[in-house]
Symmetry: C2
Subunit: 301 residues, 2 copies
């Protein structure tokens, strides 16, 4: 047992919660009242763990935090992870998720299912983000009727009504930015800083509502070649285009967005949301995850 956990892992009702994503994971030692006693983060995401190695991974975490029950959410429950926890169709709430936990009795581990959406022409899926959203509502960090934004490689927009998740959309914003920055005709032009500023906001305005995003992206190159855009502003402008398209598609119209983000992404999305007439409130995503997973752990017990 490492210092800092102080033997409390053995308290009645304590457990281990894991937010187990594609490239990273974060484990929490959680007390019976839902408060975090300790946390650790590493790069042992599902892409780094072979299919047969999950029991050993759990044993290593228990060696640190104590021989406690485990509840895990995220890509660990996907076909690329440990075991597939079938999607729960939206609309869904914490009770729907708790009823569909995938329990692995011999490992004393439960895996939270993801959510699926089929609505008209739209199809979408998520794994992990739903815990943060439901937790934010449960903990009173956000209203029960709200629009959440979870920026990242794949940004999730999540609508809640009465505390239930009723709709969501995934935008490949971060992935597309990385692809055009690292490959193809814009590679080598997007090495400058990505930060809020006039170049970013001009990109946001150009990208928002644009039905010609593949044209807008090429304009970045042309604008630099023709001296209309400073080379050092090209990356911020291209980021603005993509985040502008992402935020603009939500047609906010003055709505307040519950932003589960921090750091640069929180600043960029806040600027884009405000540029397009909305408002953003930042929510601590770790606190939201803990509240959400604790709700599920209590429903499981």
């Amino acid at each position: 047992m490492v210092s800092g956990t102080d033997g409390r892992g053995a308290e009645a009702g304590a457990y281990i919660a894991i937010d187990w994503g594609t490239t990273n994971r974060r484990a929490y030692l959680v007390a019976a009242d839902g408060s975090a006693i300790d946390t650790m983060r590493d790069d042992r995401g599902v892409l780094a763990v072979a299919a047969g190695d999950y029991p050993a991974e759990l044993a290593a975490i228990r060696a640190r935090y104590g021989d406690l029950p485990v509840i895990a959410a995220g890509m660990v429950g996907s076909t690329r992870g440990w075991r597939e926890a079938p999607y729960v169709p939206a609309p869904a709430d914490a009770a729907s998720l708790a009823a569909a936990l995938l329990v692995i009795p011999e490992e004393r581990c439960a895996i939270v299912p993801g959510l699926s959406l089929l609505a008209g022409p739209r199809a979408d899926v998520m794994r992990g983000e739903e815990v943060q959203v439901l937790g934010a509502v449960a903990a009173g960090l956000a209203p029960a009727d709200a629009l959440f934004c979870q920026p990242g490689t794949h940004n999730k927009w999540v609508r809640t009504e009465g505390g239930r998740i009723t709709g969501f959309a995934t935008a490949m914003t971060g992935e597309l930015f990385a692809l055009v920055r690292d490959h193809g005709i814009l590679a080598g032009m997007l090495d400058g800083p990505v930060a809020d500023g006039e170049a970013f906001r001009a990109g946001v305005r150009r990208g928002a509502g644009a039905a010609d995003l593949p044209v807008a992206l090429f304009e970045v190159r042309a604008a630099v070649l023709l001296g209309r855009l400073a080379a050092r502003d090209a990356a911020a402008h291209a980021s603005g285009l993509l985040i502008g398209a992402d935020v603009g598609a939500q047609a906010l119209g003055g709505e307040t967005v519950q932003l589960l983000a921090d750091g640069t992404l929180a600043a960029l999305y806040t600027a884009a949301i405000e540029t397009l007439g909305g408002a953003a409130r930042r929510i601590d995503s770790h606190a939201a995850f803990l509240a959400g997973i604790h709700q599920l752990q209590e429903l499981r017990s």
Copy 2:
């Protein structure tokens, strides 16, 4: 002199024309009347030729076609090519291009400048495609007032009025498809055939006019995971999304598009244009290039 050219390269008024692009080039031995006597294509695009090697490249082509004047168009005139031929601002016609030829006297070579566009928020550039478009009009292959489409890695839409190029837009359609097929979350899901069919056309309809293209792309993954889209149709659907966004941004409304393409891309763009209410006429891009370059060679003389 290779067989097939039969010494005719030495005829009065004959010359060598080169369509010199980023990854490939095509050279023509052209008779005084503008007809092609011979042609050769290889992968010695500007990315494969070091800055100092252009004289040797020309010497090799002249060893085959005769010691003739050369006129070259495309990326050879860019900062990545041999010498930079500054852009001519649109609107422009053949006379504008001929007046701005970059002549390299010691090499008896002229390089055709590209076109630039600055219009409101839009900035765009092209190098090489303008020769095909002006040639198509000059040769009577297309009307003087027309909308051209030149699919490829970077698809060009070109508007002509009275035989002048008055506007154009570049869409990174082919590049974006290659990026999402080869990298990121959709990689490995887009290995199926890309051909016209219901999956492609459904993609076209979803992508056309869509202000949420980064969402529509993620839907491909979700639709396959949820069994709504067959895995073998995913590539055709994703291609449809991007080509649909590209064509849809032109808001055709029944207009006939002059399509400078052949093979698979011609079939896909024709299907997308027709799905979105337009009509497509195919034009031989080699014949169009020859007509355009001959017009410039005559104006140069």
